[in-house]
Symmetry: C2
Subunit: 205 residues, 2 copies
Amino acid sequence: MKKIDILREEQTRTDIIATAQKLFQKYGIDKTTMDDIAREVGKGKSTLYYYYTSKEEVFYAVVNKEKDEVMKSIKKTISNLESPSEQLKTFFLSHFNELKHKINLYSVILQGNVKKHIDLFGRIQKENISSEIEMIKEILLKGIKNGEFKNIKEKDCEDIAIICVTVIQGLDSSIIFFKDEAQKELRIETATDIFIKGLQYRRQK
Amino acid sequence: MKKIDILREEQTRTDIIATAQKLFQKYGIDKTTMDDIAREVGKGKSTLYYYYTSKEEVFYAVVNKEKDEVMKSIKKTISNLESPSEQLKTFFLSHFNELKHKINLYSVILQGNVKKHIDLFGRIQKENISSEIEMIKEILLKGIKNGEFKNIKEKDCEDIAIICVTVIQGLDSSIIFFKDEAQKELRIETATDIFIKGLQYRRQK
DNA sequence: AATAGACTCAAATACTAAATTAGTCGAAAG
DNA sequence: CTTTCGACTAATTTAGTATTTGAGTCTATT
């Protein structure tokens, strides 16, 4: 296979995903048909199946692309910060802001039968969380090495990263639950501060 | 109305709720009919409507009774502890244990059409959270007064209590998501410790 | 005041036929 | 030898309808 072909294949995949993204966002996963996507791309439906094995795979690819973009953006923001504490805080807040932007979006995409795609959504969530855990682990490790996080040991990084993600999840769900928009931002910040302070000071026992 | 009548009315209410609880746990909210409950109580269906205005009200009363029992139990456990830090930690862990016990239970109860009862569930969750916030606020206040929580001010208690509840929510959801049973308990404890440490040490800025 | 039995109407269920659509296959184009 | 297409099939969804169920009401009775 020549190099030019690989590029062309990539281009087609990109087209498909971009179109699929547009349609999924507009109509949701169930109301968007493979024919819809194919027509919009200007290809036959079978062509889609040449590149992706199923509609769920297409959906997965769309979401994955978005995830990569978000992670890349956060990574970039973080790379400008010196201290791991600041980095971690920024991660918490960025996550919150991303969610705020995407919350309406995803409620459209996921409209309809959630049960039907429960395995897919589970897989997506799992991989999202994995990426986040990896990133947080890096931050924690740096913080341990430079002495900012006195309360934790290197071997516990994985667990603490998991804890960070679950705490973030809790804060996220409060976006949906508590309505007072003004307070929210501040509260997320306070929570983050408390948590990070907890990492900084050495545990007694 | 005579005193004896009030007692009898209370007894009937208690019977209804106990029976309803049993049936809801077994068949879920939708598959349990008001006739089922009435038959089991040994009364006519209309009698239920004499005491409760709707099936959702009966369900609400059942869940509320359970909530009261749980809160009372936690309160009792906590009252034996001296330090607010210990109390808060115990609250976190008790919440976790309660959830672990009830998780299978509630997945049965809520089976079926969740969307249909979304308002009811929202109301229940809201009141659950309110009770917990109140309780946590008391603990925090004591901790501020005795100097254990150096990082927070009295006027922020409400917000911090809300944060506690959201953090707990995050930890709770990890019960469902992460499967490694052995690690879970430990992780919850670690998370709690970190968070409480964060409350104890004074913020710089 | 408390209960029951008969009643109503809205909603859930069950069934069916018709239409859509996910996914396959073999052939054709480049 | 990669990429595309159009026709095909099998599965799923939708739409329409008939039937049953069950929440909530009403009236009568104790």
